[in-house]
Symmetry: C2
Subunit: 382 residues, 2 copies
């Protein structure tokens, strides 16, 4: 039996995914990414064509979830790669696209496993993959079955298995890249490092929320770095550096810029969800306080005298607006708000300084792009 992978054969069984995003010409590389995403999905479809029709339903729901993504990581990789190379972009674009789309498959795998672990059925207000599987089972009684352990177990098992399918697919794509051996091994090393980090990041996250691990600032920061910064920032940026054949020390520097950018992003996420304008960032106001989420803001407050007052209602599922506002006020008084703003600013300043040191080995276009990302992040409100 010979399985078809797009990197082996230019197979396309005619299946095409069309999405609302692909009609936006202003989003960088969107058409190319969707074309490659279509090819990968067509390949997975073809590989699974002889299985039971019930599995088809599950696979189609996964494709649907996959195409709903914002493609942040593939676009970051392609955008940076594009500024790092001049002449040969056409030659290698197919390979770069394969890596870019593999990052989106990995992202889906991590999200769905995170939702399995947290028992979530929604993501940003919409049904997630697990929610879709439940909805497909009995749309008429969704409100009841979402609390039925048997139905929920089934939908979550679908999530675990699809996460595995896409985790394996990510590795298959990396393993088959049409690149010189040393370059493929550098990418495999990067993937390996990323998987280890995200696994430990998720481990710390679950450990903190289940109280198996004691919270403190170091752990909260480490969790942010491992769970989010590595795969969302370091991975696409280092992959671009490797694909552009930059030397190892430049790849490492770009990776460190990515890590700092990623930590700033996560610190900002903690800040916005605690002090930001809920109407702007779209998250339920105070949901982090209600869930008792061990953010960097809370980790700071734990070491202050105000903690005894904060802990009374922190993590209470029926936290009232006035109680939440009181916690907000205490967090400001104890210095957590200022500390958070300073920490974000520090990490962004590290990025700015490091970007300057990339000269002269890195094209000024790439430096400008990275600086632009830093400034976009500095001014983000949602």
């Amino acid at each position: 039996m010979r399985d078809n992978w797009p990197c082996d054969t230019r197979m396309d069984n005619g299946m095409t995914i069309t999405t609302e995003h692909s009609t936006h010409p202003d989003l960088d590389f969107n058409d190319e990414i969707y074309r490659e995403l279509n090819r990968i999905c067509a390949s997975l479809s073809q590989q699974c064509s002889t299985y039971q029709p019930e599995f088809r339903t599950c696979l189609d729901a996964a494709f649907q979830a996959l195409r709903g993504g914002k493609l942040i990581r593939p676009r970051m990789l392609l955008g940076l790669y594009n500024t790092l190379v001049d002449d040969d972009i056409e030659v290698k674009l197919n390979t770069v696209l394969q890596v870019a789309v593999a990052l989106e498959l990995l992202h889906f795998s991590l999200l769905v496993h995170d939702d399995v672990i947290d028992g979530d059925l929604y993501r940003r207000g919409k049904l997630n993959f697990i929610g879709q599987i439940l909805m497909h089972r009995t749309p008429e009684s969704f409100a009841q079955i979402q609390r039925d352990p048997e139905h929920l177990d089934w939908a979550q098992s679908n999530g675990l298995l699809m996460g595995n399918l896409f985790l394996a697919a990510t590795h298959q794509i990396f393993a088959r890249l049409d690149l010189p051996h040393h370059q493929r091994v550098r990418l495999l090393d990067l993937l390996n490092h990323t998987i280890n980090d995200t696994i430990v990041g998720e481990f710390l996250d679950v450990g903190l929320s289940s109280k198996a691990i004691s919270p403190n600032m170091d752990i909260a920061l480490e969790m942010s770095r491992l769970k989010t910064a590595t795969y969302t920032f370091e991975l696409p940026m280092r992959a671009a550096a490797i694909l552009a054949e930059l030397p190892q020390e430049i790849e490492t520097k770009i990776g460190e810029i990515g890590t700092n950018l990623g930590i700033a992003y996560q610190l900002q996420d903690d800040y916005l969800s605690t002090f930001g304008d809920a109407a702007e960032h779209g998250k339920d106001a105070f949901s982090d306080l209600r869930e008792g989420k061990e953010t960097t803001i809370i980790a700071f407050a734990r070491d202050t005298a105000k903690w005894t007052d904060i802990q009374d209602n922190f993590g209470s599922a029926d936290l009232s607006t006035s109680q939440a506002e009181r916690i907000q006020h205490l967090l400001i008084q104890c210095g957590a708000k200022n500390h958070s703003l300073n920490a974000i600013s520090d990490h962004l300043n590290i990025c700015r300084s490091m970007i300057k040191t990339l000269s002269p080995q890195v094209d000024p276009k790439a430096q400008n792009l990275l600086l632009k990302q830093v400034e976009q992040l500095a001014s983000r409100k949602s």
Copy 2:
């Protein structure tokens, strides 16, 4: 950052796993397999050395579970490979050992994810990995916490994450094998096919037990093939054929022999757990009937007139011995027992005939080994 993988560097940080098995000289290739398993674990250890100590505990529990395995799949691969090649066995043994041990990592990953899905804390009467994590948390109150959702979620999340770590590690090993490109791609194709099959097999298993998928004989047989036969029999046997550089058509034939052997094994498992001597096979007598497991025996009985009598107590958690014996009796009367015995015998006969057709391309030593496995399976009582 550069991660160390044993296939890249001959790294050994001094960590050694010793087990009771490795002192049994009569078990084929045990020393070699444990040496390679040690190297892989040492490499994973070293990669994870900078993470929090809590993760170390989890990793060590996984290594402990990993070394408790019976090494059936690595030994099958090495045993068959050894009969398929004559001269160059020393040259390639390291590569073959890497693949062999990768199969054990995959086995652990599949087992632990299966235990997450089923909510199991025990396997063959001993605490499994998830049970060990729970026990480590609060040994003094294990009886209580094993039903506490928060503790259980934590332990199961550990299971999901360790399953992912080992699934990724399996792929990393395959991706880095020091083999010619076409041979590595053949092995990657085989791994890809195996992962797809086992995912769909597990999907069908969960679907049947959660009643999301309607049971029938085709689904029950397909589930056995996909969930067990592919990765336990077809994978090690085809991997041996690829590593021995046999032509594609011989690899395919050996794979089909593996599939038939695997289905026979699973049919026999269903048979022994329903009609076998509990003292001999070590499983709880009637546990399949009590759990309402959709075996091939039950699938056959569903299509007979006796089913209305059987279904009354089938799947009842408090099934009495006399009720279970009545079901056994009804299963014999409706022909399910005979059908099962015939089906086992048919699949083993297919194996015997196919093994003969391997001449002259395959060494008689390999044919004899395969025939020996068929006869061992034919006479198995546990």
